[in-house]
């Protein structure tokens, strides 16, 4: 499943500056794993040590927050667009 992934500014150092890249996977977990194979180091910015999605990273499939779609188990179809955004957060 080839999916377009939109990369936020803060992660573009891993993608050679590309704003959007293509990766493959049937689920968000597989997709982000494939993304890390293509752009090593990017996963360290996205996941906790236990493999769950970092609390302050938002991942969207077609504009919906994946936390409402089954999180990393969210299914993907050809032509889906995945976006990664750092949360806007503080104290």
């Amino acid at each position: 499943m080839a999916v377009e992934v939109r990369i936020p500014t803060i992660l573009r150092k891993h993608t050679g500056g590309s704003k959007a890249v293509t990766a493959e996977g049937d689920t968000v977990r597989d997709l982000l794993g494939d993304l890390d194979r293509r752009y090593p180091g990017i996963a360290g910015q996205l996941f906790n040590e236990d493999g769950s999605l970092h609390r302050f990273v938002n991942v969207y499939v077609n504009d919906e927050d994946v936390r409402f779609l089954g999180a990393l188990d969210a299914k993907l179809d050809d032509g889906d667009v995945v976006a990664i955004l750092p949360a806007v957060a503080g104290g």
Binding site: I10, D63, A83, L85, P86, A87, G90, G91
Partner: protein, 142 residues
Amino acid sequence: MLAIDRDQHGALVAHARAEYHNEACALLAGRDDAVERVYPLPNAEASPTFYVVEPRAQLRAMTEMDDLGLDLVGIFHSHVATEAYPSRTDVELAAYPDAAYLILSLADRDVPVLRAFRIRDGQVEEEPVQVAGRHPTPSRRP
């Protein structure tokens, strides 16, 4: 230097006061450090000491900015009881090095204090904020 007009400044103060006792948050879109549009957004944490812009509202606002050809020039939040300076949490979670971080202190609710900072790689640097009318105010006759 970040330039915002009086109406935008007023909108931020009003948003912060409306959300008081919790922290309020907003995104500022513009060009070349001049704010053109303010997006007051929900704080998903609804907390007096913490804020997270509600993720779907964040994406909608950022997508609209892209569509309008605007950049994210500022990230705003309020401090309800402390000074207008980035907290340790603000520094740890700052993920937008190209945006100015604006903090409005309501420690004195009658005298809100707005300051702005760049937060990059854990370093905080203050950035001046210019609050001005979009059009010159007509001068009074003597």
